[in-house]
Symmetry: C2
Subunit: 554 residues, 2 copies
Amino acid sequence: MLKKLFPGLEWMLTYQKHDLRGDLSAGLIVAIMLIPQGMAYAMLAGLPPVIGLYASTIPLLIYALFGSSRQLAVGPVAMVSLLVLTGVQGLAEPGSSEYISLVLLLALMVGVIQLSLGLLRLGFITDFISHAVISGFTSAAAIVIGFSQLKHLLGISLPSTENVFELLLEASRQIGSINLYSFFIGITSIAILVLLKKFAPKIPAPLVVVVYSTALVYLFNLHEKGVNIIGEVPDGLPSLSFPVWSTEAISALMPVAITIAIIGFVESFAMAKVIATKEKYKVDANRELVGLGLANVSASTFSGYPVTGGFSRSAVNYGAGAKTGLAAIITAILIVLTLLFFTSWFYYMPNAVLAAIIMVAVYGLIDVKEAKHLFKIKKIDGFTLLVTFIATLTLGIEMGIFIGVIFSLVIFLWRSANPHMAELGYVGKLDAYRNTKRFNDAETFEHLSILRIDSPLYFANIQRVEARIQQAFLKSDKVDTLVIDFSGVNDVDAVAVDHLEELMNTYRDLDKRIYLCDVKGPVRDTLREAGWYETFKGQIEYQDLEHVLDHLKR
Amino acid sequence: MLKKLFPGLEWMLTYQKHDLRGDLSAGLIVAIMLIPQGMAYAMLAGLPPVIGLYASTIPLLIYALFGSSRQLAVGPVAMVSLLVLTGVQGLAEPGSSEYISLVLLLALMVGVIQLSLGLLRLGFITDFISHAVISGFTSAAAIVIGFSQLKHLLGISLPSTENVFELLLEASRQIGSINLYSFFIGITSIAILVLLKKFAPKIPAPLVVVVYSTALVYLFNLHEKGVNIIGEVPDGLPSLSFPVWSTEAISALMPVAITIAIIGFVESFAMAKVIATKEKYKVDANRELVGLGLANVSASTFSGYPVTGGFSRSAVNYGAGAKTGLAAIITAILIVLTLLFFTSWFYYMPNAVLAAIIMVAVYGLIDVKEAKHLFKIKKIDGFTLLVTFIATLTLGIEMGIFIGVIFSLVIFLWRSANPHMAELGYVGKLDAYRNTKRFNDAETFEHLSILRIDSPLYFANIQRVEARIQQAFLKSDKVDTLVIDFSGVNDVDAVAVDHLEELMNTYRDLDKRIYLCDVKGPVRDTLREAGWYETFKGQIEYQDLEHVLDHLKR
């Protein structure tokens, strides 16, 4: 009972001493990664960097207690940070106290939405977001995020717009006013990050570039030469915060809150599942929603901003040997220590290095391989990815995912409204009945036609099925019997039953017969309710094709 | 070629003399029915009654030439008339010249929409409107229409609202000012219509009540005692009319134009199909759209209003022996003669009799039996009907059908996201493998589990399928082999293939094996693209359960 409420208790009560080493080192490595990332992502979200650190304290502890994944590294992530920026910048000036207060409200809303979905066991609705949609959306968002950092990298000021082309145009206009010091720091940081990742993946590259660039600024007084630096970072723990709310603010933030709640969860849960399968334990969508929801509520009450499970940090956490939620607790403790004692060290850290960290991190999210892979297996799924990608780039983040989800569902509906149907013939070498279009040597009959329907029957496809049945009889005057193989009919609705019943009656009046065989249990139940086992006695009870053909031979 | 353009040519060129008698008598009977109905429905639409007659001339001829049904009786119908009223009354005062001009524009828009859908071969999109939605919507609209006539029946003035309860409340307030003469005419007309329909269905009841009530008004001078009468009806043919248009008017009318175009077509096409199946000819959705579209365009250029194929008039037409479109042409000629010579006869016709005709006509559209039937066969389809019914009554006509369509599609998606899966066991008496939940005597195996999936696999259900597969292995430690019967898997998308592939690899690493059997052609194609026939060679090629079990025994 208690364990159901606090999934974290499970690993706490059964903690094994030999897990401690892995948890300790993973906690440390993630903290080293999270400090610069947290500040960078907060900057991306239009917030003071310290808020990224605040969001990396209490929410991690809360998730460790209420979440069901033991390796998920919760905290600020790039995608959610971008969503925060795009959702709130229209309502207040990024960085202003009004902006911060709206972001706190947003975190609360995200938390309440996730918590409600989890408690109402509605986690399944996220199943309707196809991986193709997620992939297209993520790639596009990564590009938007990358370009949003251009201003920090170049040391110029650019309009905050999601439109990549507008950004590039404006940047080219300001090419003369680029701050070459910022640009140098940014470019060299990117180079170091990329090279270390490739040749020395064990070295914590973000830490290296942060130290390198901070030292550069400090040693050469670059902040006096136009290089933007983080400056004063308040020390001490986050104070309690209570978001002020108004109905207008809530309704203005609602679309972005829903988007963050769902996208944040989907990305996080996907990672949690991958690790859980490898470690042979189960994660549950609804419990994850509760865990993330409470983490976000705590983010809003401790001066943070929306958090979720991060892809790359979780991978690092798992790879570094994290066995339980203790790793996350250690990370949180290290961040708290940093906030208490080391914030002054960040004074000379240039914005350009944070931009470099973000750019390298999101570059890995652009997944061209997945697009090619989907196109190869099934073109239409590749198209779904492409449509989502283009819509996200051109129409914006929220619209992009909305269009992708609708597109993928319409495709599914359209496919199921155009069911696959096959005329069957006897294939001697297999001793079986197969699609005559695939097996040219399949024998057909003079008076008899066999049709297999590979689809549930429902209102949107029954008209096509009707037309196909009529066609089977129209093919030749000699055909007076149609056997329909129902093995692929997984479900029927009442509208389809009515249509079929009328058709079967019409043909009965014309002295032609329709037989069904291999009708599945759920379909049998519906036909029984419709009284078919009396109306069409002798026509629909056959367990397979052989039985009905045996019966017809007699 | 010409016949494709003018489907009507087919019956014209092959006209048989012996069809003439049926066409003549059907044409006459429909004309007698259509004259009062046309005027009544025009009144319902907020138009002068003569416009109902205009709409019963040229559009009938156009449909006879371009439509593909030979018995469909095109003209004003109750449902479309109500939609016209609800769609236009917000923009202009019903009956005003501005109102009439907007209605002409609406007819043109409906015609162009139907024509475009037909020419672009998009008729299939109407397949997505479930019969359950149509039925619920029609019943609710019938109630709204019936109550909208209360003011004419009682001889009082009521607000034009779709809200039935508001109407009843207001009517009860005005109970003192009811015109008893109108009320008497209305009630007796209803009684006559109902009784004649029941006991003497051959007698044209509308004609009888029209003559009866007109005589009453004329003989007793009831029009001087507050009974509203039709009054002057202009004689002569409809003049050419060119709808004036503005972009605001078009965008304001667009929702209702789309609704009329689709609902009008769906109702009409359903009737056309019923008759065509009985008469063994084919009607085509796209040609029907072209025929109705051109009829509506002609309605807008000859002072008419939107028309479609009427349910009851088509049934009467067919029942009276109509064999070809000649019947409709005869109807149109008779209406033209009426317009030329007999309009003065309508002067004393009371509004109350038209209200009575409408009320009796729409009462037949309230279909409680269908609701019960759907609830019996499949509860959720009954619910779809009910939801549409309630939404139409409470939220209005257009919203009602919109909610119904969305609801029915969401239900379908929801069902397909929760696929039926069954564990199979060997049933000796059938010599077959069946669902262990339905066949208690089915034998299962110690090391082997057999799972049948009855659903296409796609992004929205693959997570549940994954969970079910994991469960099959978790059931007992001894289970090391899972056979999945794919005979019910009609389709897979790329996302589902990726998920399954990962799962199969994971279990392979754990030294457990998953086998597929009876994989259908379209699914085989996708798996081949994904390289499964190399990756999982020996695991997925079996044509049925027996073959894979034979292989495993060896």
